[in-house]
Amino acid sequence: MEQLYQIEGVNLTVRMPTELDHLGAERIKKETDYYLENYHIQHIIFDFQKTDFMDSSGIGVVAGRYRLLNLRGGSVEAVHVSERIDKIFHLSGMHKIMEIHREEKKDERV
């Protein structure tokens, strides 16, 4: 099975699910927080390579982890972000508090 969470030093990479909605967000939140509680993590890289859908639940996950890490002096970033997801990040003002790296994407599915 593909590794969804990867720790390298103080960095945690989280591979976001295809559908980051209410259901997907709850799972990622729970799992990510397990790593935050049990390892010394200072930086989270949310990888959106596989994500075709995200709603405000996804913003809740990223903003919530940002708050947790900010308290530890850490940070979060997003990588492989599609145009669509970038738009949602922008609408939410997330680009002001974190680095968001776009990706010219593969074929976008409906």
Partner: protein, 146 residues
């Protein structure tokens, strides 16, 4: 048949379980394909719908599983979608629709749900009565901006 005469309706009702959200998004997106929407328009519709359904589950029913009804209507080149629950209703609709407003910060709700609905749809109307439920009615013109 001429474009403006085109009219079509669809309704679905399902248990307000989070795992049904993806099903509902896909069902409405599939219904909408007859208007030949762009990928962007479909994504707009799915995001707005997802926000309304999540609200019904989390706020309307507060996590309990009850029925959510979705009514869709295509008229001309516009699709109207209503998301209806019989949950606890919204006390103050205006306040609920403010950006970043959430009654559930502990659940890390971003308070952006209505903002997204309004950003991605052409019209959003909310009818709600405390103790009786909420209906979110949204409309989007497909092919509006070329």
């Amino acid at each position: 048949m001429r474009e403006y005469e085109k009219s079509n309706e669809m309704a679905i009702e399902f248990d307000g379980h989070p795992s049904n959200e993806a099903f509902a998004r896909v069902a409405v997106a599939a219904f909408c394909t007859q208007l030949n929407p762009t990928l962007e328009e479909v994504a707009d519709l799915k995001t707005a719908l997802s926000e309304a359904i999540t609200n019904a589950i989390i706020h309307g029913y507060e996590g309990q599983v009850h029925k959510i009804r979705i009514e869709c209507e295509i008229r001309g080149n516009a699709i109207s979608v209503a998301v209806i629950d019989r949950g606890k209703g919204i006390e103050n609709i205006e306040e609920a629709m403010q950006p970043m407003f959430t009654t559930k910060p502990e659940m890390e709700r971003s308070g952006m749900g209505f903002v997204f609905m309004e950003a991605f749809m052409d019209q959003v109307q909310v009818e709600s009565r405390p103790g009786e439920g909420t209906a979110v009615r949204m409309k989007k013109v497909i092919g509006g901006q070329a």
